[in-house]
Symmetry: C2
Subunit: 360 residues, 2 copies
């Protein structure tokens, strides 16, 4: 494997939040150095490496110096500006690549791409003006969900609408335009698949997780999910197909809605390690962070099998106070080292390991 | 638990080798900062935190400044100078404490302490001069093992001797004096137990590992060990008794010789995380590094149960080249980020996970 990054090489990571931090910890276990690039001086990832750049994402001088110091560039968030991605990709390998970024940054492009693969997505329409909105509400019916096409996360940038008046008000409030109106999907479960694809095109997926959200933010991920083997196989097949079609390198998160008939449709994808994959660090031979680092380094992918069942629970805002006093048996905690707890802010997570669950 | 160190506190670590590095990574997962103190500018642990002190262990000014910046002090090696330990312990909690250090730094004191608890150790004699040596060879018989009492590691500072002439020659070559002559123990297996004790006196032990050495250096640790439940219980009981008798706080490694009758005697103890506990990171709910950080932070101890069987294999010198190309399935690798590979130098390890082994 001549493309493999050697031990001691430096991995550049755009973004200094908890995902960048956990990627950096995983890279260290594999013998790599990491360099974190982030404009926020309080970035928790700055605490786990001596190599950092504190600069804006559009600071070309800082980006050039950063590229000079690293051997490969990755990122912890999908909203890396297109110009930044293109600039860096011209200097060092950018993994996942610019195409995965541009598609996942735009809900319309993402749905078009996935739908074009023959993989179901929610019925939807692009909304550029009031005429679009009226036609779309007629076509899709109520309730529906009006969303920004860009920069949404954790339930931000979207509103459930139940009438045209409602939708018109939301259209005036949500930004940036254009928006997308999605038919409300009567899902019975939310699941996700974390799939990895290596430089050599091999793929490896973790078991599907069943996700529960609270206030638009992921609350728990449970593995094994309460789904049939057929549903699991369908979700794994879709996720792998998307990674392959993108020519993807790294770990990709794919969120699904499961319908009453057991079939799934893709809600959205994230070209990075994913909150709903945090359970892997407690029970898998290779966790999602190590898997991502292996993939972008041109290393062979690791073994994604799990050794036990698990429930991952996010700690939001002051819930971080559950650490350490409420740490009962069979819990593996992870705190992100954020100095300040704010409502809605992801501060850490707990993995509750279930030893009586079958291995897979 | 009012003594618990809060999230965001800083853990000071003496020693910047792979054990300090792995402790730092575990501390980060728990939301702590770490500060590494080491005189070697190429310390691999310097790569996983921005906080470091590059200074000699007897530099009182540097030690005072270090103590000022941290909330608790621990170490990755048992040969912390007594003066350093005392100086730091007067400024900040030193865990494990100075007593564990002073006892484990001296083979004679260690054997006296353990023997005094009624726990078997190898028959041995202190050797201060030629007269001691003659008497001891007569009393213990040949073969025997002549060892330094201080500063031995990885088979260094010891020689197997088969005659008085042999022993006399070794006496002249081994330093520093005094030495200790140990009867050769006809062991059938080497096992070890990693036990933790919290600030509140609770204890938790990992399953015994079976160890194989090569050229005096640990080669593999296998769990479950090929020993009976009675032998395992005896080893766990002894290890726990030692930790409790020392008033110990942290993770303690206890190495045993198992005799043909299934009983064990203590070979030596190490007041730190231990190479023969590296398997825990691949298969345990809480690994030895997190367990040590929890203990010294006054946190509740974690769950030491394992989710699968495992064989840990050290990568010595150029064997590190097995990463990444030889990474087969079900292997979890760990590379220590050392810039230079030298013969006999521990460069990393592999954990081969055995999913078909029962959980415990």
């Amino acid at each position: 494997m001549s493309e493999a990054l050697p031990l001691g090489a430096t991995i550049g990571i755009l973004g200094g939040g908890q995902l960048g931090r956990m990627l950096s910890l995983a890279a260290a276990r594999l013998g790599f150095k990491t360099h974190i690039y982030c404009p926020d001086r309080h970035s928790p990832a700055f605490e786990v490496t001596p190599h950092k750049t504190l600069a804006a994402y559009d600071d070309l001088g800082a980006l050039a110096a950063f590229a000079e110091m690293v051997d490969v560039v990755t990122y912890e968030f999908e909203n890396v500006p297109a110009g930044t991605a293109e600039y860096l990709a011209a200097l060092k390998p950018l993994r996942p690549g610019a195409r995965a970024l541009s598609i996942s940054q735009d809900r319309l492009a993402e749905k078009a791409f996935i739908g074009g693969l023959g993989i179901p997505v929610a019925p939807h329409r692009a909304i550029r003006d009031a005429g679009d909105l009226t036609a779309a509400m007629l076509a899709l019916g109520a309730p529906a969900v009006l969303k920004t096409t860009r920069l949404g996360y954790d339930g931000k940038g979207q509103r459930k609408v139940t009438s045209l008046d409602d939708a018109t008000a939301a259209f005036g409030e949500l930004a940036p335009h254009p928006l997308v109106l999605e038919a409300f999907v009567p899902f019975v479960r939310e699941i996700s698949v974390i799939v990895a694809r290596g430089v050599d095109g091999t793929t490896a997926a973790f078991d599907p997780a069943e996700n529960v959200h609270r206030d638009g933010i992921l609350f728990t991920s449970t593995v094994p999910a309460g789904i049939s083997a057929d549903t699991a196989a369908e979700a794994l097949r879709h996720a792998t197909q998307i990674a392959t079609a993108l020519g993807y390198v790294g770990v990709l998160g794919v969120e699904f809605f499961m319908l009453a008939d057991g079939h799934v449709l893709v809600n959205e994808i994230a070209p990075r390690v994913h909150n709903s994959g945090h359970w892997t660090e407690a029970v898998c031979i290779t966790d999602q962070f190590e898997q991502h680092i292996r993939a972008i380094s041109g290393w062979p992918l690791g073994d994604p099998r799990r050794l036990a069942g698990v429930v991952m629970e996010n700690l939001i805002g002051d819930e971080i106070g559950a650490i350490p006093d409420a740490l009962g048996h069979s819990i593996r905690p992870h705190a992100y080292g954020k100095a300040e707890s704010r409502p809605g802010r992801k501060m850490g997570h707990l993995n509750r390991v279930a030893l009586d669950s079958p291995q897979k």
